[in-house]
Symmetry: C2
Subunit: 462 residues, 2 copies
């Protein structure tokens, strides 16, 4: 069902897709890697870019400094009635290992692939391509009708990929400026390339870096090997012991607050016809690695995880160096569900390490950070309106789904501003976000813009 | 007991120590890192440097090309009777992590330390400082007496720190040119700073790099975490399982061929008064990490070891990246004793990995390499002559000792040229070879030169 107001806007989107794409390319060229201080100026420039684009469209847009990377906030109050706050992030993940990219990650291009056209570049999917679907939908509405059908505010941060250190302080100070009837967050995926989705369950995240020190300097393994404690061995034991033989995490109390799926939810997920073999097969795997007796969908949507994201010790360059390393370190993260307490998980990890650290080694936990899981309230009429609008655009009807990723902002909007969030995104499982050769399907971009045109219209009717 | 011939040579050494030191500094400035192809030209230049020095002294010296770095061979046949071949290596270990050095590793200097003057720089102890003790002893003999007291050949390789790939082919082709009554090898240490040593037992070495592949690319841990196999977890399990709770290596058949110390040997080592607490305490440790029930001296001299020298997986840069890595790898080496078979150890490691690798992960073993342990025959009269000469130079009498390091050349000399080796070196435990801030005590250099003067004289008497 497509209203009279929507039809010419969709036609405008189709006719001007190349310009929308050009603008996205401009945004993708900006090297806004938030975690690396070397790219601080690039992050700032990216915020400026957004402010200029939004101001040119007619938004009241401004860059707001923080102790880290700036926030971008924009308002258009000319629409009537319902008020949405759209959230996205303009920062991106680091790009290494660079040699695995098929092109410069910051020189984006549309590439032909066997599965169709894709936009290749760092941030294409996470989150620049996604946030631009909403910006371009607004642009088309304004171009055709002069004004938007509802009140729209936008809120873009530049620290999402580096733990959002400025987010809570900013929201505590300037929350009033961000309040709306509902938040829209575009940082999630489709259920599959034909099936759009509204994500209603998000896992939380706890993370840390563990550094173990043994000898006070790197040693010659021939001279000291056998007698001196090797921290690489200690770290291996600690990491190996994080999981039991059935794939469960062994941390004390880890599963406290992990809810069992209701039978109704289980049935709904089973009816989705999720292709577990295809999901794993697409990345070269065949055997689910998680807890025995759980489906793959449960593993990634409703069960907590414990993963080593990186580890290093000793000599890792070319050739061989028979060194006995002084230090060994690992970056470890946990995806949390239900009411799992991130601080309790971090404490349990610390106890796990302390119980396995030999008398003459020491350890540090660095950069510890945690945010709990979030479950959306879907009673708000915006959910059904958006589900209908998405179903009108895509081949298959939209689904309410879970998501393995962590998007703490939804929890913060609820807690700090009393505002529900609706998560709609157009990513696909093979987008390779956080990896080399990140891409966003051209279809995701094009139909993503069209989807928001429909959602804006649908929200004006509730 | 110092002979009439020796006294003026020792006086010459003392009077010209500064020039000897200047020459060593020149050699230390050459960046001969053999394992890194970027330093190939520097290795070649270092060989040229040695040829020039030796030719200037009167040796018939030449550089011999190999498929890797060149060999340097020099002869002086003017002496009478006994003929020694002196072996050393002119290549050095890589220098990273560079930020832990207190100076540019290739800009050497004499530094004052609380324990006395040291020569600081990469290769100062391993092996440029050591090989120069012999070269400078010869120079002093020739300066004072015109000729050396015995026949001397020298043989320097440039690949010792990168597995000596050209050594065996070279010795097979040109072995006749290297044959002598005995080989002298200067790449080992003192028993302690007061006690010189002749090393009579060397451990062998087996090494490899293990690379485990799980998913075919790095994944987003939120999207795939829990369901996708994480190769960092697999690697941790494999490495953790290499040792049991008592510190013994768990590889099948690993201790085959490991001899027990004779009671006599055990008694001799106990009498050395080795300070195990000081040995470990010097590197910030207090608890021996090796097999339960073994002394620290056994651990480092007579027991085999299994050590992780390096490992890496996933994101190891600054900040955090919630990646689920595609690969995880480790460099592992084994020190071997007795008649342990390096190939059997490598095979046992492969079986250990194969038994722990999940169905949908794969693994590769790269750069596998092995050499067996060596025990010297000390019946040759040169051993007693040298022991006496060393005892004359140093505060305490010389000891016959074991060594944790691996110096495969001694085994090759025996096997390919039927030639016994005598290992005499002046390094100390705190020389930080293979580590940042490598040094060689000025005393090691000065008294090392004087020691060789005495040994040359002693060998002319047998």
């Amino acid at each position: 069902m497509t209203s009279d107001a929507v039809t010419p806007v969709l036609a405008h989107v189709d006719a001007h897709l190349d310009e929308s794409l050009e603008r996205l390319m401009g945004l993708l060229r900006l090297q806004s890697i938030s975690t690396d201080p070397a790219f601080k100026a690039a992050c700032d420039k990216t915020a400026d870019w957004l402010v200029e684009e939004l101001a040119e469209m007619g938004f009241d847009a401004a860059k707001h400094p923080t102790t880290g990377h700036p926030m971008v906030v924009a308002h258009d109050d000319e629409g009537e009635g319902f008020h949405v706050l759209f959230y996205g992030h303009y920062d991106v993940q680091p790009v290494d290992p660079l040699n695995l990219w098929n092109r410069d990650p910051f020189d984006p291009a549309v590439e032909e692939t066997p599965a169709g056209k894709v936009i290749r570049g760092r941030g294409a999917a996470d989150d620049k391509g996604q946030l631009m679907t909403f910006v371009e939908a607004c642009r088309a509405w304004m171009a055709v009708h002069g004004t938007l059908p509802i009140k729209v505010s936008m809120f873009f941060e530049g620290e999402e990929e580096s733990g959002s250190p400025s987010l809570i302080p900013y929201m505590e100070a300037y929350g009033e400026d961000l309040k709306a009837d509902i938040a829209l967050i575009c940082d999630t995926g489709m259920f599959d390339p034909q099936t759009p989705a509204i994500t209603t369950a998000l896992r939380g995240l706890a993370k840390l870096e563990l550094v173990i020190t043994g000898p006070n300097k790197d040693l010659h393994s021939g001279m000291f090997g056998g007698a001196a404690r090797n921290p690489a061995h200690v770290l291996s034991r600690i990491l190996a012991d994080l999981h039991d033989e059935d794939g469960a995490c062994t941390l004390e109390g880890f599963y406290d607050g992990v809810p069992e799926l209701s039978n109704a939810q289980k049935a709904q997920w089973e009816n989705l016809g999720f292709d577990a073999d295809g999901f794993l097969g697409g990345v070269g795997l065949s055997v689910p690695a998680g807890e025995k007796g759980r489906s793959v969908l449960e593993m990634v949507w409703s069960r907590p995880t414990c993963e080593v994201n990186g580890m290093t010790s000793g000599y890792t360059g070319a050739g061989f160096k028979t060194v006995l390393p002084s230090k060994a370190s690992a970056k470890v993260s946990f995806r949390l569900v239900g009411t799992q307490d991130p601080q309790a998980v971090l404490k349990a990890f610390e106890a796990h390490v302390a119980a396995r650290i030999p008398k003459d080694c020491s350890f540090q936990l660095l950069d510890t950070e945690g945010s709990p899981a979030t479950t959306m309230e879907i009673d708000h009429p915006a959910f059904e309106a958006a589900r209908q609008a998405l179903s009108d655009e895509w081949p298959k009807p939209a689904a309410f789904i879970g998501c393995g990723g962590s998007i703490p902002i939804a929890g913060y909007f609820q807690k700090l501003l009393g505002m529900d969030s609706m998560l709609i995104g157009f990513g696909n499982d093979d987008d390779q976000i956080h990896s080399p050769n990140e891409k966003y399907d051209l279809t995701s971009y094009h139909k993503g813009i069209r989807s928001w045109v429909r959602v804006l219209d649908a929200l004006s009717e509730i």
